[in-house]
């Protein structure tokens, strides 16, 4: 008779016997030739057993929720204390248009805001700049000055709602505007809460909305850490992002490793400024992609928490538990959405969102089915939000914390990804850190190679995309959101009005103080706040800083 826990040798023998006598012959008889690798090309075994967890230790490798190594989640109660924040990234047209969308989303159960700025704002130029032609309000909401920010948050109480702002190169300036709007609402900076993305390294690596050279960019980011730690204590001053790295073509492992190495780089630079690790580390947050490969993604989130806890404790000597927590936002994979048969995207998003929840995310954006065509329509974004609500309230997956904990497959994948990511992190350490690696083009090249590999795998039919290289079918066009030219006209006329109605002397003085602060290497945050309060435009502020810091040009390669 077999015992309930067979000794390893019995298990090994039984496993081999099963494979040889049952699995292999049956598999050979099947005509189905299935690719047993993940979307990232990671080979999986046909079956996982306790044998795959040799040396695995419950306390060292898993533990309890809210306890190191935090594999099961950073909070002891996880979704029993509070569900993840349902935070749909949103912005289009004028600040008025987007303000209406925010109020709609909040009235339908969304629990936090997430601002998508239009490209001119992301690039630190005003709407009347020649490069802004055709771009105004297209990929997000147009924000040129504090006036726009006041309209964007009109009627939204900033002491009650948390806001995430996807802004990088000009992050400090938009944050200054948010702080100024809060003050106008009578809300102290000590009370407001939210996140600025503020992660420039992944811009050089993947998303490419950089402005200043790396050194100056890192200086500005450390300024926000320092200022936030003292003045805006509930604000997440950075969202260290794997999302864009993954979307640019990285594998799950590359996303994990590059993102955590970026995190290490920020901590290094902040420590060099003389900041105390426990003063800023609790406000570092992360942002990952939830891609198609269900178990690999769940393992990736779990591995990320484990590595970060080790890094903060062992590498940086953090003393506070909060400094060791990897808290993260997740967005489902935009790149996985297909233009063909677009309603299928709802299903993709559901699976990806479920992976994020099973991986213990703190907040979640679910993509809308129409995003391969345009920014989401109201109907599409509502379905995306409802998807989260169905997972939260109907699926039952929140009832038990880390429900996949102990799964042979998931634990094995978690350990594998953690070990391989640590090796990749050491490789970048050896290059002299992430800024150096970026200057060598290393992560950029790795990602481009992976993107090309994946495209080839799809075209060879090794990876199936339903509706694209299998089960193709004609479909009717779907209704999509259109941002018409009136948004641009309205934005340009408000910008002209702001420029003509403000106190010009006050603007000149604020910008000249800002420039001096930048030249002298002071923390620029207070000077940015004075400048935006005087209604200096984003473009004017960024131009002032460009005079001091210069601009980055990336080498053109493919």
């Amino acid at each position: 008779m077999s015992k309930s826990a067979p000794p390893d040798s019995d298990l090994k023998a039984a496993g081999r016997k099963w494979k040889k006598e049952l699995y292999d012959p049956a598999r050979q008889a099947c005509s189905l030739s299935q690719d047993l690798t993940t979307v990232s090309g990671r080979p999986l075994k046909e079956l996982y057993t306790p044998q795959d967890l040799e040396g695995w230790d419950f306390f060292k490798d898993l533990g309890f929720p809210g306890q190191p190594p935090y594999v099961r989640g950073v909070h002891p109660t996880m979704y029993h204390g509070r569900l993840w924040t349902m935070r749909q990234f949103s912005g289009f047209g004028t600040p008025e248009d987007t303000n209406r969308r925010y109020k709609y989303l909040l009235s339908h159960g969304q629990t936090g805001l997430s601002v998508a700025f239009h490209l001119p704002t992301l690039m630190g130029i005003d709407s009347d700049h020649p490069l802004a032609r055709g771009e105004i309000g297209k990929c997000g909401v147009a924000v040129d000055s504090l006036r726009d920010m006041e309209i964007l948050f009109d009627g939204i109480p900033l002491d009650k709602i948390t806001t995430s702002m996807t802004i990088n190169a000009p992050a400090a300036v938009l944050w200054a505007m948010y702080i100024a709007v809060a003050e106008k609402q009578g809300v102290s900076p000590r009370v407001i809460s939210g996140t600025i993305q503020n992660d420039i390294l992944k811009e050089y690596i993947a998303q490419k909305t950089f402005i200043f050279p790396p050194e100056a960019s890192m200086k500005l980011i450390v300024d926000t850490f320092e200022f936030g730690g003292r003045e805006v204590p509930r604000w997440n001053t950075i969202s260290i992002s794997g999302y864009h790295i993954r979307e640019a073509g990285a594998t799950a492992l590359q996303e994990l490793a590059f993102t955590l190495r970026d995190g290490i780089e920020y901590v290094d630079w902040a420590l060099r400024r003389g900041l105390d690790v426990d003063e800023f580390a609790p406000r570092l947050s992360f942002f990952f992609d939830a891609h198609n490969d269900f178990f690999e993604e769940i393992a990736k989130f779990r591995a990320a928490r484990k590595i970060w806890a080790e890094v903060m404790r062992d590498r940086f000597g953090a003393r506070q538990a909060r400094s060791c927590w990897l808290r993260f936002h997740t967005q489902t994979a935009g790149v996985s959405l297909m233009a063909q048969q677009p309603y299928n995207n709802v299903v993709r998003v559901t699976l990806q969102a479920l992976a994020a929840v099973l991986g213990g995310t703190q907040s979640l954006h679910t993509n809308s089915l129409d995003e391969t065509y345009a920014l989401p329509s109201q109907e599409a974004v509502t379905i995306a939000l409802r998807t989260q609500q169905i997972i939260a309230h109907e699926s039952g997956v929140v009832n038990s914390i880390d429900p996949l904990g102990g799964s042979y497959l998931v634990e094995r994948l978690t350990s594998e990804l953690a070990e391989e990511a640590k090796a990749a992190i050491r490789k970048i350490d050896d290059m002299g850190g992430m800024v150096k690696a970026i200057e060598m083009g290393y992560p950029q090249k790795e990602i481009a190679d992976s993107a090309f590999w994946y495209q080839r795998a799809v075209e060879k039919g090794q990876k199936i995309i339903v509706g694209v290289n299998a089960y193709a079918q004609e479909h009717e066009p779907i209704p999509i959101l259109r941002v018409d030219d009136s948004a641009a006209r309205q934005q340009l006329s408000r910008l002209a009005e702001v420029r003509s109605s403000r106190n010009q002397r006050q603007v000149r003085e604020a910008l000249s103080d800002l420039k001096k602060a930048a030249v002298d290497g002071l923390n620029v945050m207070p000077f940015l706040i004075s400048s935006v309060k005087a209604y200096a435009t984003l473009g004017e502020v960024m131009d002032t800083l460009k005079e001091v810091y210069g601009e980055y040009r990336e080498p053109i390669t493919f």
Partner: protein, 139 residues
């Protein structure tokens, strides 16, 4: 007669930095034996048109996500015509709503490839529509 390789300019107009698609296309066309010139990010219509003329390319491929295609594509076509290079075919790919396609084609964009397009389809299209060598005698 020695055949000249097809010369292609892959250009990224618009302010967005999403260059995954453009880079994959560049590699695929190069692997298919074409000469590929990539502009890099955030090129103005003026820069793209003059690069097309200076590099004497047989084809221009535009990659865009930002939504500014309705302003930038017509401008690029107009500038090519102004520089007597209106005969260089222009194709495009990226995030472009289906209902914009007829209008862009009417303006002169020869073909538009949406997400999910195979690089092989794009290569096939180019090989079918672009003569392998521009006659050296032609001005």
């Amino acid at each position: 007669m020695t055949q000249k390789n097809i010369r292609v300019l892959i250009a990224k107009p618009g302010l967005d930095g999403h260059d995954r698609g453009a880079k994959v296309i560049c590699r695929a066309l190069r692997d298919a034996g074409m000469e590929v010139i990539y502009t890099g990010l955030r090129r103005t219509p003026e820069e793209i048109a003059s690069a097309a003329v200076q590099e004497d390319v047989d084809l221009v491929g535009l990659s865009i996500l930002s939504g500014a295609h309705d302003v930038l594509f017509p401008r690029i076509l107009e500038l090519l015509r102004e520089q007597e290079a209106g005969d260089i075919p222009v194709i495009a790919g990226g995030i472009i709503p289906e209902r914009d396609i007829p209008h862009l084609k009417k303006l002169g964009v020869k073909e538009i490839f949406l997400p999910g397009s195979s690089t092989q389809d794009i290569i096939r299209w180019i090989e079918e529509h672009i003569p392998p060598a521009r006659d050296p005698g032609k001005k």
